[in-house]
């Protein structure tokens, strides 16, 4: 594909992705009583905390083994063990996640062995420590996220008697989105284990007393029982089988795994509900069908405005996939769909776009220099993605509808609701209103510039709107 040629293999100019440990932190924040430490130099944890704190507007504590020169040369084992000691003392966690940084990986630290030794030395054999190898040069935050979820399940899951609960693997979506999924599950009267679940811990109500580790998150006991579940629904279609936590549960424990996209848009939400009803044999309640009808009504109300939208969508592959499908079904035709990571996005999206005769650039391993150039070339007029796309607005005048992670130049990243029929309608309204805002904000001037002529030159019909 000639799009790939645009991407320089030597320079990344304005990154559209982050590193593995960043993604690795998030799932731990959605596990009951968990605390994380990054084995590496101090900056990694501080920068990631800053990014996450700004998106969620929540305190985000992440330890660091604060490796210095000595630790780098002679090995950081002592540092990491001291770090674990201090985390246990101050935070009294129920589980500790240990993520590696580039530095720890490069000097060859075996965190799995170190943490095992540590537990033995301290008589903490039963205390769960989840070591995850997340070298910053080994993948993007997306892979770090998936791997952390998988490793948490690998560490805690135990062969269990079959039970009625359904496993749902949650990708990096907002706390509000997770709450909406829970609401839908409650409407269908389904028992479930959501993993991970940041819906409370990274969108904490202001209540007293303040606790250093937020309550909420998936219970350790529930994760232990995931192998006994009826089935797993993994909200994600872009992960490879090796990366997929749902696939792991299926391989190891025979739990059937259904992969469905993040339920944004009518088709994707239908697929989620179809999976739920197929597994549980429950009927979809009328109230939810009503919400579906309202989404269809919203789509019809907005279709003409949306049909003028030429979108550029970027971010984590899973979200880009769902948003691209949603844009297509609403006529907000994507001209650029881009992710900083995975090639699988191209494979999945290419067939969907084949039926449309417009040119679309599906970019993997993209940076914002490429995304920007393609957006301009293909005439994008609305951008959909994280705050890092604000340069498309600032430099090219393409308005940005914020969704995904990170959102650091606006408040409320944690409250953005975009999944389910209701969330999809809210997302669509945000897009439509942005397009309308652009039109109304400039049409007096643009009409004047186009049509007000002092002479008698005949007007061309080429520029009709």
């Amino acid at each position: 594909m000639d799009e790939q040629l645009l991407y320089s293999k030597n320079v990344n100019e304005n990154p559209c992705h982050m590193c593995m440990p960043m993604g690795g932190i998030l799932p731990f924040k959605g596990i009951e009583g968990a605390m994380v430490i990054i084995h590496g130099s101090q900056g990694c944890s501080t920068y990631m905390r800053r990014h996450i704190a700004e998106h969620f507007n929540e305190p985000v504590d992440v330890g660091s083994s604060s490796l210095n020169e000595k630790g780098t040369i002679y090995g950081g084992e002592a540092n990491l063990k001291q770090g674990l000691d201090n985390i246990l003392r101050v935070y009294n966690p129920k589980l500790i996640g240990v993520l590696t940084s580039c530095l720890a990986e490069t000097i060859g630290e075996d965190v799995e062995r170190i943490t095992l030794d540590y537990r033995k030395e301290k008589g903490l054999e039963d205390f769960p420590v989840v070591a995850v190898s997340t070298p910053g040069y080994g993948g993007t935050q997306n892979e770090g996220y998936l791997l952390a979820v998988k490793r948490i399940i690998m560490e805690l899951a135990r062969p269990t008697e079959p039970h009625n609960k359904l496993n749902i693997i949650i990708p990096n979506i907002s706390p509000a989105d997770i709450r909406e999924i829970k609401r839908i599950l409650a409407l269908l009267d389904i028992e479930y284990t959501l993993c991970p679940d940041i819906s409370y811990s990274l969108d904490r109500p202001l209540v007293r007393p303040f606790t250093k580790i937020s309550t909420g998150g998936t219970k350790l006991a529930d994760i232990a029982k995931m192998p006994g579940a009826v089935a797993t629904i993994e909200l994600g279609v872009t992960a490879s089988t090796e990366e997929s936590p749902g696939h792991y549960l299926s391989e190891q424990f025979g739990v059937p795994c259904y992969q469905v996209p993040i339920p944004i848009g009518v088709q994707n939400t239908d697929r989620f509900l179809q999976a739920l009803t197929a597994i549980t044999k429950r009927d979809i309640p009328d109230s939810l069908l009503m919400e579906r009808g309202r989404l269809l009504d919203c789509m019809v109300d907005s279709h003409k405005y949306n049909f003028n939208g030429r979108s550029v969508i970027f971010g984590e592959p899973e979200l880009v996939y769902s948003l691209a499908v949603t844009c297509v079904e609403n006529g907000i035709f994507p001209v650029v769909a881009a992710t900083g990571g995975s090639d699988r996005l191209t494979q999945l999206l290419a067939p969907i776009f084949e039926q449309y005769k417009q040119e679309i650039a599906i970019l993997s391993k993209a940076d914002f220099a490429t995304i920007r150039a393609k957006s301009v070339e293909l005439g994008a007029n609305i951008a959909i993605g994280s705050s890092d796309g604000r340069y498309l607005t600032e430099r090219e005048g393409i308005s940005l509808v914020r969704i995904g992670f990170p959102i650091h130049d606006r408040v409320g990243g944690q409250r953005l609701l975009s999944v389910g029929y209701t969330g999809s309608a809210m997302f669509l309204d945000r897009v439509t209103n942005t397009l309308l805002g652009n039109k109304y904000g400039s049409y007096r001037r643009s009409m004047y510039e186009k049509y007000y002529q002092t002479g008698n030159t005949p007007q061309s019909i080429g520029g009709a709107v």
């Binding site: 030597n10 320079v11 990344n12 100019e13 304005n14 990154p15 992705h17 982050m18 590193c19 440990p21 960043m22 590496g40 130099s41 101090q42 900056g43 501080t46 920068y47 990631m48 905390r49 800053r50 990014h51 704190a53 700004e54 969620f56 507007n57 929540e58 305190p59 985000v60 504590d61 330890g63 660091s64 604060s66 210095n68 020169e69 780098t72 540092n79 990491l80 001291q82 770090g83 674990l84 201090n86 003392r89 101050v90 935070y91 580039c102 530095l103 490069t106 000097i107 070298p135 910053g136 040069y137 080994g138 904490r204 202001l206 209540v207 007293r208 303040f210 250093k212 900083g340 890092d388």
Partner: protein, 452 residues
Amino acid sequence: MEAALDIKERNPFIATKGKQKVSLRCDADSISGCVSQRACVYCGARVVLNPVTDAAHLVHGPIGCSSYTWDIRGSLSSGDDLYRNSFSTELQEHDVIFGGEPKLSRAIDEIVAKYQPKLFFVYSTCIVGVIGDDLEAVCKRSAQKHGITIIPVQSSGFIGNKSAGYRAACDALLRLITPEQPLPRKANSVNYLGDFNLAGEAWIIRNYLTEIGVSVNSVFTGDSNFDSLREATAGSLNIMQCAGSMTYLATKMQDEFQIPYLRVSFLGMEDTADSLRKIADYFGDPAMLARAEMLIARETEATSPIIAAYRGHFNGKKAAVYVGGGFKAISLIKQFREIGIEVVLIGTQTGRPDEYDTINDLVNDGTVILDDANPAELERFMTQQGADLLVGGVKERPLAYKLGIAFIDHNHDRKHPLSGYIGAVNFAKEVYSTLCSPVWNYIYDWGGENRG
């Protein structure tokens, strides 16, 4: 001494004024597992150099380092905007194993072809330090090839803390400004060190200096560029705002180019007036001094009533301060005094012994002083000391809010100036807008319990 949350290694970094003779430990490595608020060497270097507007800032390392620092500062430019891009060699496993030098030199070639920058800063990150890429050699070769200036910044994350990064940045700047031939000195001119032109702060100060008859030769590094920095040694005096990042450079410039330096602060009315007088005094020109007094009188007259009006709202309020550098912390104690607020907790990430001595002299008995604090300590001491307000950066903000405490941004990406008289008003206004917001009256439990 207050117990440091069961981590005895932290005790030497915490003191209470009046309880004991303060000999606070500082400038040491962070303790593992303590959730330090500090960043790394690379971060220190990047934040100092990033405001150089026409430079290509190329991070030689994995993607994260570049991703998290892309346009991280609210530094403004009057011209170029190349500095607002974040370039990275995005090292992959293959590069880590076989070395990243070829990729780096190709990356430089590509950026030169696309943007033709006069100047590069090439930052090393943790793994570059470990795999041993010879940054110096690659930069030298590429510089010769393209006939431009390419400066390696030795900022591997693990070689120290943020202060080491400041030093690496200063070393890079020194290489840039050292002239082949000594430059003639410009009379009554200053280099303004340690202002990064956040929200136009360097412009505000330059206007003051111009008014009193002092020309600003170079700014380090706010709204600076290749040409203006190369003129630096023509300045006759260095004035230094951010001591944490610039003391090293100021000392070097004094030794190597015989340019003396003055510590100044433009945070708050008192410090701003003192600094303007100090500068005018240095030049020993009575007319300049008279103009400075006129400026101070005019601005004080305009500003004082506004500040006084705000002060009326702040009776009995107590502040906590946790910022990057010691000199900023000192200024903030005075600035809070101007608006009638007592500082009951003060700490920094990179303060030095003499700065902590000054802090100890300035604060009242009972004030807690801490170096390299963490969220658990901030929580404990803010609560214990009854702070109504915290000054800090992005990471500290949600903690304060969750504790029901007001908050002032003193971070790198704020969008409002805090320097000079306009900054003093902005500061008081921001304190007012957070401390006196009606929301705090409604933050109570259901049924009105636990009010306040």
